[in-house]
Amino acid sequence: MLETLNQTTFLHTVVAIGSFTIFTIGLVGVLSKKNLFKIFLSLSIVESSLFLFFIGSHFEVGKAAPIVADGIKLFDGHMVDPVPQAMILTTIVIGVAVLALSLTFVVNYYRLSGNIDIDKMDELGEVQ
């Protein structure tokens, strides 16, 4: 029983289903919430689901993390593909920066207008 659970294909399926669920949770949040904070947090959740999916689908049973340390001198067949991990690290950094910037805008907007509801943002649009 435990052997079947420790198969690469099985784990990939779990990762795919799990990250798709998180993606959906985030998407529902973006579409249904009115609070600007919650919208940006939902977007961040959607992004995280992509990270999980990408890292998870490159995991293979029996292979180590791609870190060159303690006696391991080079990247070879005993390690999982290092490229996705490097990519996701970069993407996480970008994501944090974008989230910080967006929350700055939200805080400043709230200070000026006293409003945090996306439906009540009526500053822009066609003049009548």
Binding site: V83, V98, S102, S113, E123, L124
Partner: protein
């Protein structure tokens, strides 16, 4: 000499701001002149590939071929013009800090030939655009910036999804390797990748049905910055999108879909402009319309049409710079961009500039827009697509309606305010107008270059 300088120099100029805080505007001009010098240096060495680190499938690659050179020089030209135009604004350090990063993001987008770096520069350009939108630091600006960030986040999520799917299935990041292996992928995955790329880039290239946000953002942005969005940002994303598409050698139905979307986008944008009462929003809709034409023309895979589209990109950038910068002068005097305010200013100079910009966008001889539209229509006619020719001409009539309505509103109404255009601004705007006239009268040299560039674009990034 390395292509990295195109990206490193502007970004360094921004990061070193504390050392020359009060002189950043001069530094920005210098940086742009330096970049223009680099571009001139590389012109005789085209086409050029540069590998940085690692072996072929994983390396970072920059490519400067005819078409990317066209965009690089266009963007450097626009940014140089922008920094010269604003050189007298002493208290505006923040603008230059961000516009330099913006330059580097846009140039990086054009030069990158691997898909992950495209994502990174996509984000750098977007983040600087968000900050530029919020620059006025009032309620309107923040509200625009927040809206922009929400749609921008959706765009980057879908682009990332597309990139991940490609890497999962192929194991490559460089465009040329992906292009070679794209058709070995499952048909379903291919369409999923294309759909993700379409949503990601479609939002950024402001194409129907993903352009609902554009007019709001242009309205919130300072008017001069809106010119940069129209002239640089959307063009950078447009180029990268088609660069990727032609490299992937997508099949005819997908291109036909994009053609249809482009035509629809053109029609809807021009009709929306008709009912708008704010000049800035009208210009935003006009940008959307022109981007629709560009989308339509670039997706034709025909050398003549694509060369016309590249010519139109240049002409449109120049015209929109003229229009937005003149509108900025009007806005400063009248404190509004509404049509009533536009009707009330008096300045023969600005009126002429507006008229030249409008006529060039409409494609009326002897201005450069005529040559661009003529080339596009000729190309479509040679392909036998007379329906598209008719549609473009018919929709252009709508465009003419609101442009002439604006001009006649200004002619007929009672003038309340005389605008004195400062000398620097007068010279710069006249230069743009002369450029449009010159390109309209002697287009051959540029057209030849555009043909070379179009061939490179349609060929895609080939395996190196």
């Amino acid at each position: 000499m390395s292509l990295v300088y195109f990206i490193a120099i502007p970004i360094l100029a921004s990061f070193l701001t504390p050392f020359y805080k009060n002189y950043l505007r001069f530094v920005s001009v210098l940086v742009n002149i330096l970049l223009a010098g680099f571009a001139a240096f590389f012109y005789s060495r085209l086409p050029l590939n540069e590998f940085i680190s690692l072996d072929s499938p994983l390396s970072i690659i920059f490519i400067l071929d005819y078409v990317s050179f066209f965009f690089v020089s266009l963007f450097i030209g626009v940014m140089l013009f922008f920094s010269l135009y604003s050189i007298k604004e002493k208290n505006n350090t923040a603008v230059f800090v961000v516009t330099n990063i913006f330059t580097s993001g846009a140039l990086g987008l054009i030069l990158s030939a691997d898909i992950f770096n495209i994502y990174i520069f996509f984000e750098i350009a977007s983040i600087s655009a968000y900050i530029l939108t919020g620059l006025n630091r009032d309620k309107v600006a923040y509200s625009g910036a927040i809206k922009y960030m929400i749609v921008g986040a959706v765009a980057s999520i879908f682009l990332l999804l597309g990139i991940m799917l490609m890497y999962l299935n192929l194991g490559y990041l460089t465009l040329s390797s992906i292009g070679a292996g794209f058709h070995t992928m499952d048909k379903g995955i291919q369409y999923l990748v294309l759909l993700s790329l379409f949503i990601g880039f479609g939002i950024k290239t402001e194409i129907l049905p993903l352009n609902f946000w554009v007019a709001d953002i242009y309205q919130a942005t300072p008017t001069k910055i809106a010119a940069l969005f129209s002239a640089v940002l959307s063009k950078a994303y447009l180029f990268v999108f088609f660069h990727i598409l032609y490299t992937l050698k997508v099949d005819a139905p997908a291109l036909l879909f994009l053609t249809a979307i482009g035509l629809l986008s053109f029609a809807v944008a021009e009709l929306s402009a008709l009912r708008s009462k704010d000049v800035k929003r009208i210009f935003a809709y006009s940008t959307l319309g022109q981007l629709g034409v560009l989308f339509l023309a670039l997706s034709s895979a025909n050398v003549v049409v694509v060369s016309g589209a590249l010519f139109l990109i240049l002409v449109h950038s120049i015209s929109k710079l003229m229009l937005f910068f003149s509108l900025d002068l009007v806005e400063k005097k009248m404190h509004s961009t509404r049509v009533e305010a536009f009707a009330g200013f008096r300045s023969a100079f600005l009126f002429t500039i507006f008229a030249i910009g409008f006529l060039s966008l409409l494609g009326i001889p002897p201005f450069a827009g005529f040559i661009a539209k003529l080339t596009i229509l000729k190309g479509f006619a040679s392909m036998g697509a007379y329906g598209i020719v008719g549609a473009i001409l018919a929709i252009s009539l709508v465009e003419a309606t609101y442009f002439f309505r604006l001009l006649s509103a200004n002619q007929r109404s009672k003038k309340t305010a005389e605008i004195k255009v400062p000398l620097l601004q007068k010279i710069m705007l006249s230069l743009l107008a002369l450029a449009i006239l010159y390109l309209g009268l002697f287009p051959q040299g540029l057209l030849d270059f555009c043909t070379d560039a179009a061939q490179t674009l349609i060929q895609g990034v080939i395996h190196v």
